[in-house]
Symmetry: D2
Subunit: 304 residues, 4 copies
Amino acid sequence: MTSIPAILDEIRQKMACAEDRGKAASYIPELASADLQKFAISVCLPNGEQWSTGDSRTPFSIQSVSKVFTLAIALGRYGESLWRRVGREPTTKAFNSSQELEVRKGIPANPFVNAGAIVTTDMVLKGASPAEALGGILQFLRVAASEEDIHINRDIAASEKMTGHKNWALAHLLSAYGNLDHSCELTLGTYFHQCAIEMSCEELARSGRFLAGFGKKDDLVRQSSVKRINALMLTCGHYNGSGEFAYRVGIPAKSGVGGAILAIVPGKASIAVWSPGLDEYGNSLLGTAALEELSNRMEWSVFS
Amino acid sequence: MTSIPAILDEIRQKMACAEDRGKAASYIPELASADLQKFAISVCLPNGEQWSTGDSRTPFSIQSVSKVFTLAIALGRYGESLWRRVGREPTTKAFNSSQELEVRKGIPANPFVNAGAIVTTDMVLKGASPAEALGGILQFLRVAASEEDIHINRDIAASEKMTGHKNWALAHLLSAYGNLDHSCELTLGTYFHQCAIEMSCEELARSGRFLAGFGKKDDLVRQSSVKRINALMLTCGHYNGSGEFAYRVGIPAKSGVGGAILAIVPGKASIAVWSPGLDEYGNSLLGTAALEELSNRMEWSVFS
Amino acid sequence: MTSIPAILDEIRQKMACAEDRGKAASYIPELASADLQKFAISVCLPNGEQWSTGDSRTPFSIQSVSKVFTLAIALGRYGESLWRRVGREPTTKAFNSSQELEVRKGIPANPFVNAGAIVTTDMVLKGASPAEALGGILQFLRVAASEEDIHINRDIAASEKMTGHKNWALAHLLSAYGNLDHSCELTLGTYFHQCAIEMSCEELARSGRFLAGFGKKDDLVRQSSVKRINALMLTCGHYNGSGEFAYRVGIPAKSGVGGAILAIVPGKASIAVWSPGLDEYGNSLLGTAALEELSNRMEWSVFS
Amino acid sequence: MTSIPAILDEIRQKMACAEDRGKAASYIPELASADLQKFAISVCLPNGEQWSTGDSRTPFSIQSVSKVFTLAIALGRYGESLWRRVGREPTTKAFNSSQELEVRKGIPANPFVNAGAIVTTDMVLKGASPAEALGGILQFLRVAASEEDIHINRDIAASEKMTGHKNWALAHLLSAYGNLDHSCELTLGTYFHQCAIEMSCEELARSGRFLAGFGKKDDLVRQSSVKRINALMLTCGHYNGSGEFAYRVGIPAKSGVGGAILAIVPGKASIAVWSPGLDEYGNSLLGTAALEELSNRMEWSVFS
């Protein structure tokens, strides 16, 4: 069997040759200007080893991958009562759709569509100022990643706030249905900042170790939460492309519009990939291809 | 650690005491008259052992669990080209909804909603008479279950044919969009018979071994198909209750309106449960509860 | 003021020059082969005069225009209790959509979408054989049009029966929700025959006189029904193009996929136009343009 | 034939006895505290006569009735190009639904659902400050009603702004699709003020004379606009209750959540009714009943 570093390198080379590299998110200038040639992958193993290749130390905006950590914090704090305010079902609509939220009378389908993550952010905000809540999320990530140097890119947060009309629409709909405890401004302000957290691929891979069942897990969440977060990542982590991802890759994972994907092989690996070009669902095109290849070669699918 | 037989027995006793036992499917008399006290569970292990408890030899109508086997046969025959005619995404609508089929212009969301299974049945019918196609499905099951005595309950098939107006509507919609190669009568006739296959819990558990990676697997499907079928069972196997099931139980599984669930722990176990009372989504209420308990106690979730 | 015959002739000439003539319905050969050059218009006035131009004696399939007469018969027989089984709201979906029927749990939006007309046909069938029911509809038309020679084109009815999968889907959905008293075969068989009634433009214009408040009205329906049928034609008569038609033409009217439109100016005129080319909603393209011109020049809009 | 004043009085007495008086709008305190006993009706005739009964000089918030006047102004200024930004089709969704706006990619169904009226307000704002735009709308109303004393209730406007989360969601969705030229704050601020215009029933009836074809019509809109606005009122003026209203009353009309309805009988009458209790669609319950009675007794339906 080929070694992990060799496999990662082969994948990196293969991805470097890919002609269709997807399209960068275009809604804010900071993401639109992304270099589509960038690619990185990093893998953490239970024995403490970490293998990486490509631009693995370049920071990027983790965007929706942050939803995993906010969910972990909210689950830790509210337990099962969290599900009174958010569902846990996959959705057939886009990640920022208002339609379903109205049909579901203000209860988002799951915590990984934007509306659902706005609700978990609102829950984490309870009893805290936005600065404190964001501090708590950053602290969670620093412990998870064993890395102090994780920050928020305030330019990106500001751009999101200016242009995120669909998110503003979602927040106002949530308020209309009584599913926000704070003002739209406060909750969305926090949400935009959390999405603008910057990490490198190496840091992101380390921050997922607690979900794979190793690393600093005891400090972070209960084991019963771990398997539930992983289940949600598998069924809902790629929006309306989740079924496709499960079929092809077979690993719980969460994507972000900045081009990152965090993927968890329970008991075996925490993986981060990054490539800014997106597919039609808003998930990293080459990141998905790289994970498919890695899953196949390492036989890491949870389904076989 | 408690032994599997002991755990199964404890689960059986616990389920015997359950007050809310769900409601039997009411659309045909054969299912409506089901005894809600019935309960069985059976587990096959890689070492060839099989443990069962409850009414594990009582035959029941496997209904939608049959969709797994038809998909396996169709995947074997058509490979990835199958997905030109069926999607692989979860759905937010009921298992027999026409709405989504119209929105998706005749391409069913996945092979486990009724419309999708009607299409895979239509594919299996290609070049065969209904009798031959059904013979092939039965033969597949007999090999999988190592059991010659598996048959179709023709009364149930006839009842379905009479009253299955929603299925007739789906078949005509599929035809309207050009996604049936045979007449509605021929394809639906075959579909109704396949749903009316009768098996016991013991037989059903054995018939899933090829998906768990042991048993007669080599004769049946490629390993690459196995993990894909399991992925689809996890994301779509319980209709619009699939996210909930993944969250609570964490095992790929397919339910049937007769009260059966086939659940696969890759590499570890093939499980069948049966209890005729259904929850609001049409999945066995106590069957789900039993699998949740078993998954927790055996630590069989694929997500931890 | 120019005389009506002169205006009609000018309209006919204008329409003869139109380059975009729409597309004939393509789902059955009898309609697909229609000659797009055909055009006719006929107007009946309260004083008994009738003015026509173009191919005004050529018979065509009235298709959905028949829904007006079935509704008139059903309203006469059931009165307001009819509305327990059909709504009276416009729809945003296509005329043969199943989606809305499922959302509305088997109660069609209005009697002019296909599902609604299948229900009114089912009501007219009550206590009669299909031959008797069809005889009743034909008799109603013969009295209304003062014309004995009105018949059903049985080739068209047979073609519809073979290929009308969307209508079969609608009928089965209606049955699934308990909103058909007869079998799908019986009700749809009658429905397809009623749509295949053939009339000329001159006959069709005369058959609408009872809705305009003159002609053989006393024998046919109550005055209170007349205004209600007209209201439904205005809000729902052109399917999801009804708002557009009301805006441009401003007259209650019902279109058919054969290219006919029956338009009613209460107290002033009963108008039929025919041109087989359809617009995107399935309404006659030049027929609509001709009615818009006529309504403007005669100041016949009910809204000014 | 009974005289109009006598008929109006009989209607008022009948409505006074009604037990089911509907429910006042509850979303802002100013509307929630409405006195359900209030009732007024006023009728303007072509000969200049005006007949009124009940609380016909009590001012109320005209709310969505204002959409008619904003549309009239926008149509006058933009002509048919207005329809690039708004549709003219009835809708099956509630007046403040976001679902349809997303399906229609930011083009509201018609100018009488909230999203559509927000767009026409945005168009009227072009090249003007909010104060100037509101001044223009007020001036239009003052001329139409021949009444200088028409004002905005700023408490109501402020309440709407605080609590109108669904409207904020709509405005942000419109912005997301590029269908607002101004900021959400600016356009919605103007929209909320326009809805908070206060008029009495007598004033409102007079302000509709230009749509009925008499009064100060020449100063206000073209005749071609009049019939189009009336057509839109008939097909869309009562939201998803428009078909029902057309069926029962048969007159173009626009309702407001404050309990007012403006109804136009082309060439014959401009009518205003007011009763604050609403039906399930958000239309005045007794106002509708009163108009039905009046339409029947005066034979004012445009459909007969």
